[in-house]
Amino acid sequence: MLKIDNTNLIYDIGKEVQTYALKNINLTLEGNRMIGVMGPSGSGKSSLLYVMAGLKIPTSGTITYNNTDLSKLTPKKAAELRLKDFGFIFQRHFLIDYMTVLENVLTPINSDSMEGKLKALNLLERLKIGHLANKKPFQLSGGQRQRVAIARALINDPKVIFADELTAALDHKSAKEVMDFLDEYKRKALIIVVTHDPSILENADDIVNIRDGVIVTVDSLKGVV
C-alpha cells in the first residue's frame, strides 16, 4: 500500500515567491491495478510520481509504503527498497549503451544465472523483441528500446511500477502495444502511469487528475481508490 498524507513539495523555499509543485496531497493507492496520473505539462504529475517512489523528498507530509515512512529510510535502505520492490520506466529508455538488450534487462538483478536469463528472454518474447536479445541499444528503434526498458523494469518482479510519460517517444501503435502489455501485468503489481495523453489510459483502473500541484479529481473507472 502506498499512502500519501498532507504532502507538500515546495521549490524556492526562502525566496520571495515559493512554488508549490505539490500542495496538500492525500492519496492512498492499494492493490494490483493501473493508476493513471493525468495533467497538463508542469502540473506536478511527475513530481508526484517521484515523491511516491521516494526519489524526491517532500517538503512536508509523509509517504508510506507498506507502513514504512519513505522519508525516514537511509539512502541505502531506500535504494534497497527501489531495487527490490519498485520498477521504473522513463520517457527516455536510458539503456546502457555498451550492454546488449539481454544484459540491460538483467541489470537490476545483476545476474548471469540461466534462470535469470530465461526470465529476461521470456519478458523480451512477451514484448515481441526476443529476437533482439543480443543486439546493442543503438541497433534498435525507439519503440524497441522502450520495450527493453519495460522488460528491465519488470525483471525483479516489482510490486509497484512507476512509469513517467513512457509512451511520449513512441508512435501511437507502439504506445498502444506497450500499454496493452502493462495491462496484462497489472494483475501482478500496482502500476502508476504519468501521462498527459488520455488515450493511453483506456485500461487504467483509476485516473488521478492533477493541476497546479493539487489533485483535482480522482476518477475511479473500474474500482475504488
Binding site: L55, P75, A79, L83, F94, N110, D112
Partner: protein
C-alpha cells in the same frame, strides 16, 4: 558474465580503456625496468665489494715498519669461528680494472695471494675454476672472473697490459691463465716477491668465517684501536656501499613519485572524461536502486582491473625485454640483469594500487550529484 561485472564493461569498451591500459603498461615498464637495471647493476658491483667480505675479512698494515701485532694474529687464529687464515699481500693498484655494469661502473684492484692459497680462496668463495689453472707465484699470471673476460673479450693465454684496453691499468704485462665463475669477483695475481709466508702474514691477511653471522673478532680488533691496522670487513664495506645506494634510492623514489603523479593526474582526467560519458549509466543504476557504495565499488573494480592487467602486461613486457637484452647485448659483454627482483616488482605494484584509487577521485566526487533528475538533464 554478470551485466555489472568489470569484464562486461572492459570487453565492450576496449577503446575507452585502452589509453589507461597503455599508460599503465608504459609506467610499469619504465619503473620495473629502471629498478631491474639499477639494482641489478648494484648487485653486480656488490660482487666485487660486499660479497668479498660477506664471509671473510681482510686485514693489513698501512705502515710496513709496524707489522700486525702478534696479539692480533693470535686472537684471529684462536677464534673458534675463524678458518683458513691466509697471507694477503695487498691489493695491487698497479693491476686494476674498470668493470662497467649496465648502470655505472666500478674500479677493481687485483688481490695478491700465494699461489698455494688460491685453491682455498676459491673454495671459500664458492668460485668455480671454469677453465685454465691457478697463477703461479711471481710468474706474471692472472686469474679473472668470467664476466671480466667477456667484457674485455679475453681468452685463456691472452696477454694483458695497458695497451689491451684503456680500462685496464697495469704496470706490466700479465698472462690470463685461469677464469673463475661465481658470486664473488676478484682478479688474483701471485706477485708475492721473496717474502716468506710467515712475514707476509704480518703485512696482511685474509680470513674466513665458519659462520658468517658471527664476526665478533672484527669488533675485537677494531676495539684495539691500532692506528696502522686497516680492516676491510662486511660492516665497513656495507656502510660505504649503503651510502652510495642511498643516493641512488633517492633518485629511484623520486622517479617513481614523478611517474605516479603524472599517471594519477593524466589517468584521473582521462577517467573523469570517460565517467562524464557514463553519467546516465550511473544515474539510471542509482535510480533503479544501486547504492552509491555499490556503484563506487563497480567503478573501482573496473579501474583496478584495467590497471592490474596493465601491470601484468607491463611486467611481462619488461621481463621479455630484459631477457632479450641479456641474451643479445649484456651477457656477451659480461653484464647481467636479473629478469625478476621482488623489491622492484613490489615498487611497480604500487602503480596499479595507487593509480586505480587516485585516478577515480574526480569521478567519485560526481556520485553525490547522481539522481534521477540528472537523467532528465
Amino acid at each position: 558474465m554478470k551485466p555489472l561485472s568489470s569484464y562486461t564493461y572492459i570487453k565492450s569498451n576496449s577503446k575507452k580503456v585502452l589509453p589507461s591500459f597503455i599508460c599503465t603498461i608504459i609506467s610499469v615498464f619504465l619503473i620495473y625496468l629502471f629498478g631491474l637495471l639499477l639494482f641489478g647493476s648494484l648487485a653486480d658491483i656488490d660482487k666485487s665489494s660486499t660479497n668479498v667480505v660477506s664471509k671473510s675479512t681482510i686485514l693489513y698494515t698501512n705502515d710496513k715498519s709496524k707489522p700486525i701485532s702478534d696479539k692480533i694474529i693470535s686472537d684471529i687464529k684462536s677464534d673458534p669461528n675463524v678458518k683458513d687464515v691466509i697471507p694477503f699481500l695487498g691489493m695491487n693498484n698497479n693491476t686494476s680494472f674498470n668493470y662497467s655494469a649496465v648502470f655505472g661502473s666500478s674500479s677493481i684492484d687485483s688481490f695478491i695471494f700465494y699461489s698455494e692459497d688460491v685453491g682455498k680462496i676459491l673454495k671459500n668463495f664458492n668460485l668455480k675454476l671454469v677453465s685454465g689453472t691457478i697463477p703461479k707465484d711471481n710468474a706474471d699470471e692472472i686469474l679473472l672472473p668470467l664476466e671480466f673476460t667477456k667484457q674485455y673479450k679475453l681468452k685463456l693465454g691472452d696477454y694483458l697490459n695497458n695497451v689491451s684496453s684503456p680500462d685496464i691499468h697495469f704496470n706490466k704485462t700479465y698472462k690470463l691463465v685461469g677464469i673463475t665463475k661465481g658470486e664473488v669477483w676478484i682478479p688474483i695475481v701471485c706477485d708475492v716477491g721473496v717474502i716468506t709466508r710467515e712475514d707476509a702474514l704480518k703485512v696482511g691477511m685474509g680470513f674466513f668465517f665458519k659462520d658468517g653471522t658471527n664476526m665478533g673478532i672484527n669488533d675485537k680488533i677494531i676495539a684495539l684501536k691500532e692506528k696502522n691496522i686497516i680492516i676491510l670487513d662486511y660492516k665497513s664495506i656495507k656502510e660505504i656501499m649503503d651510502q652510495t645506494q642511498a643516493s641512488i634510492n633517492v633518485l629511484y623514489i623520486f622517479l617513481d613519485i614523478i611517474i605516479l603523479l603524472v599517471l594519477c593526474i593524466s589517468l584521473g582526467n582521462l577517467n573523469y572524461i570517460v565517467f562524464l560519458g557514463r553519467k546516465n549509466e550511473f544515474a539510471i543504476m542509482s535510480t533503479i536502486g544501486f547504492t552509491e557504495s555499490k556503484l563506487r565499488r563497480k567503478l573501482f573494480i573496473e579501474n583496478t582491473t584495467v590497471c592490474l592487467i596493465g601491470f601484468i602486461v607491463g611486467i611481462g613486457l619488461t621481463t621479455l625485454t630484459t631477457e632479450l637484452l641479456n641474451i643479445a647485448v649484456w651477457q656477451p659483454n659480461g653484464q647481467h640483469i636479473p629478469v625478476f627482483r621482488l623489491d622492484s616488482f613490489c615498487v611497480a605494484l604500487i602503480i596499479p594500487a595507487i593509480v586505480s584509487l587516485f585516478s577515480m577521485v574526480s569521478s567519485v566526487r560526481e556520485f553525490n550529484k547522481l539522481s534521477y533528475e540528472s537523467l532528465c538533464n
